[in-house]
């Protein structure tokens, strides 16, 4: 075996041993989720049905939830499966990846597609009485069927025509509707918010004079830098003029501005990725392994109290 393989194997075994030790020998175990029962309709005397909501261990009425505990372990193992890709591509990663593709697609269809849009926005408009009797008892009694909504329905069916063996071109109509609508909306919106408003925000006095009549040097330099920066970057993006002579020099300053902009973006992106990693590690250590408890979620003294 290569030295490196040995190192990694030792790491894995040590991790496994630690897990079993934590689960078996610590007084409160780990990775358990608690729930408590609550009346669905707290103000009703007749409707006595209850539902379970999340609870903290030790809270009054808290009981262990098997499905949620299983879920927590699954979540932790999926997280580790994804991280295992860093070592090398493997069967656990591929399974996790396949599950992710399937669940995310199904979930988006069910929520954004069906229950949040088609039912309340199309069905409730076309057949309000039926929708009320079926799924939306609180839908206003006064709403009438609105035949105008047959138009999006028909357009939608045309969109689905792509699945048919022939006549796929019919899907171009709804596509044209979407593209055209958004071309119109985006044209005005981008020119308003990104073109006009950005010019307006950049119009600042190049010399800032304080109330007392004194010159504010810092603010003046800032403003000059800002206005000059925007102008030089615009020069860089100007396609009609070669980057030579004066235009070339200004464009060069423009690209320096852009590089500093990208440097800032770079640092922020790095920052964001690290924040997400830290939150995943917190999830593993806090919610799953119960090694730490900064938010005092559990009544016991944690392993690491910081």
């Amino acid at each position: 075996m290569k030295r490196e393989t040995i190192v990694w194997t030792i790491l894995f075994i040590a991790g496994g041993l630690f897990l079993s030790y934590r689960a078996a020998f610590s007084p409160h175990g780990m990775g358990k989720v608690y729930v408590k029962a609550e009346q669905v309709n707290p103000n009703s005397q007749t409707d006595l049905r209850t539902k379970y909501i999340g609870a903290r261990p030790g809270e009054k009425g808290a009981v262990l939830s098997i499905p949620r505990s299983v879920g927590l372990w699954l979540a932790a193992l999926f997280t580790l499966a994804i991280f295992s890709f860093l070592y090398r591509d493997n069967v656990f990663f591929k399974i996790a990846e396949s599950v992710m593709v399937g669940v995310s697609a199904g979930w988006a269809m069910v929520t954004a597609g069906f229950w949040d849009t088609l039912v309340p926005k199309l069905l409730a408009k076309l057949a309000p009485d039926m929708t009320r009797a079926w799924a939306l008892p609180k839908l206003e009694k006064t709403s009438h069927a609105d035949p105008l909504y047959l138009v999006p329905l028909v357009l939608g069916i045309m969109l689905l025509w792509r699945l048919a063996p022939r006549g796929g071109w019919i899907a171009r109509w709804p596509l044209a509707f979407i593209v055209g609508t958004f071309a119109g909306i985006k044209l005005t919106m981008y020119l308003d918010a990104d073109f006009v408003s950005q010019i307006r925000s950049t119009i600042v006095p190049l010399v800032v004079v304080l109330q007392s009549g004194q010159l504010d040097v810092w603010a003046s330099i800032r403003n000059v830098g800002l206005v000059f920066g925007v102008l030089s970057c615009l020069t860089y993006f100007f396609f009609s003029v070669e980057h030579r002579g004066i235009a070339g020099k200004i464009a060069r300053i423009g690209i320096w501005y852009l590089m500093i902009t990208f440097g800032a973006s770079f640092a922020f992106t790095v920052m964001g990725r690290i924040a997400l990693l830290a939150s995943r590690i917190t999830f593993l250590f806090d919610d799953w392994l119960w090694l730490m408890d900064p938010n005092h979620k559990r009544p016991w003294e944690p392993f690491f109290s910081g």
């Binding site: 593209v179 307006r200 119009i203 006095p205 993006f237 396609f239 990208f262 973006s265």
Partner: protein
């Protein structure tokens, strides 16, 4: 009931100016006027990159991004592909185009075939090198990095919309020592391309590239129109800042204050025609 929102009157004028610029320049180019567009460094490097791949006997990889044909950056990316493919056909280099959308695949096949045809190498074209992988971001990237590590392409081109995967692609390409040329309008991903690739087309340059390489007159015209818009922006900005400066230096001048107010709150604001 109001028939016209007067507070947006000046915005309407600006809208007409910008749109009019595009239309007029498109018509000018159509009528045969020759308009100059500057060279773009990254585009010149394409030939060098393809040449190197040919010398080394390794393929070129072209990635048209993660979005579908309804997004403009993807369309621009496909135009760049057309140019890359024509050079590849001339040099007899291999070009590989894995896509994440089936429509992009179809468009890429048409484009590359046309490029091979125009280079007089129609016989060398094959559909097999342009194929659909998957729509999902990370599985698609996993495939691409796998391909890069195995086949070690000598040149990698990225043109279109990229998100978090930009970093993974650029890093892997760098590790196999490929020449990398990238272009995207996603501002948050540009730094990674700029830092890890040899040449990067920044934002608007990607659109310019497509127009520049397409050599279609109306596309060049629209570019000129965009330049006119930038000129308008620069003039408004410079004039506004000068007025604002004068107003700051002469706080008692009523005329300057009025002029600034008109510019910022009427012309560029919501104050109506004033």
């Amino acid at each position: 009931m109001q028939w016209f929102d007067r507070s947006r009157a000046w915005f309407g004028v600006i809208l007409l100016l910008v749109c009019g610029g595009v239309v007029i320049f498109t018509e000018l180019v159509k009528s045969g006027r020759n308009l100059h567009i500057r060279e773009i460094a990254g585009l010149k490097a394409i030939e060098e990159a393809v040449g190197r791949a040919t010398e080394m006997g390794r393929p070129c990889l072209f990635v048209p991004g993660l979005q579908d044909m309804n997004e403009i950056p993807t369309v621009a990316g496909i135009s760049v592909l057309s140019h890359v493919a024509r050079i590849a056909a001339e040099y007899d280099a291999t070009i590989e185009v894995p896509t994440s959308r089936s429509l992009v695949m179809t468009a890429a096949r048409e484009t590359v075939q046309a490029a091979y045809f125009s280079a007089g190498r129609a016989d060398a074209y094959s559909d097999d090198r342009i194929y659909y992988v998957t729509e999902e971001q990370f599985p698609y990237v996993a495939y691409l990095t796998g391909y890069m590590v195995r086949e070690k392409p000598a040149a990698c081109f990225y043109a279109g919309t990229f998100f978090a995967e930009s970093l993974i692609l650029a890093e892997t390409g760098n590790s196999i020592g490929a020449i990398q040329i990238a272009g995207t309008s996603e501002a948050s991903q540009l730094p990674f391309f700029v830092a890890a690739c040899d040449y990067t087309l920044i934002g608007e340059e990607l659109f310019a590239a497509s127009a520049y390489l397409s050599h279609e007159p109306h596309q060049l015209g629209s570019l000129k129109g965009q330049d006119a818009g930038k000129l308008l922006a620069a003039v408004l900005l410079a004039a506004g800042s000068l007025i604002a400066t004068a107003a700051a230096l002469m706080p008692n001048s009523h005329a300057l204050a009025m002029a600034l107010h008109f510019l910022k709150d009427n012309l560029l604001g919501k104050g109506g025609p004033g």
